[in-house]
Amino acid sequence: EPEVTQTPSHQVTQMGQEVILRCVPISNHLYFYWYRQILGQKVEFLVSFYNNEISEKSEIFDDQFSVERPDGSNFTLKIRSTKLEDSAMYFCASRADRGSETQYFGPGTRLLVL
């Protein structure tokens, strides 16, 4: 069964450093998402992406964040200058098309900012 994959599974970085989290959505899916889950808190929407542009973003997704689909398979989340409060589990998700409402989630990348 096709699945969303994410790399790395864990990342430790120093405050102020840039990080790139990578995701490979399910092939032929058209809609892509990033969510995050701070330890002990709810899963929060960050951004949605369709047709090579951002469809919607949350208040959390400020200028320090960016997303990109550099080729036909990868979908990346970049945090330009990490802060301590960016420590969280980051989930990528993808959805097939307009008629399919199910988002399929990857296993997540646990980011720790020191």
């Binding site: 969303v4 809609y31 998402y33 969510y35 808190q41 709810k42 899963v43 929060e44 929407f45 949605s48 469809s55 919607e56 949350s58 989930f91 998700a93 959805r95 307009r98 409402e101 199910t102 988002q103 399929y104 989630f105 990857g106 296993p107 997540g108």
Partner: protein
């Protein structure tokens, strides 16, 4: 704007007992409703969803949920739980009217099944 409330942060239950995990939502427009499960150190897996039609929906692993529009609820049930059902369960909504498709999650309910 939508919101989701999962009143029970933890639900302990013995194996083979029935369980209900509660979910209430708030929205000014029609919604789609979802239950996701998160096993330890894993991502989110879809259990079931309500889009339209029959208000009783059946999902994987013997779970079912009932959409109650008047009570704005979407409670998850299983008649007999197994040890392997121990996990975190998240209720989520998305807007079906404007179809903005971002998922709004509740805070989660940790189901702990004891032998």
């Amino acid at each position: 704007a939508q919101s989701v409330t999962q009143l029970d942060s933890q639900v302990p239950v013995f194996e083979e007992a029935p369980v209900e995990l509660r979910c209430n939502y708030s929205s000014s427009v029609s919604v789609y409703l979802f239950w996701y499960v998160q096993y330890p150190n894993q991502g989110l897996q879809l259990l079931l969803k309500y889009l339209s039609g029959s208000t009783l929906v059946k999902g994987i692993n013997g779970f079912e949920a009932e959409f109650n529009k008047s009570q704005t609820s979407f409670h998850l049930r299983k008649p007999s739980v197994h040890i392997s059902d121990t996990a975190e369960y998240f209720c989520a909504v998305s807007d079906s009217f404007y179809n903005t498709d971002k998922l709004i999650f509740g805070t989660g309910t940790r189901l702990q099944v004891f032998p």
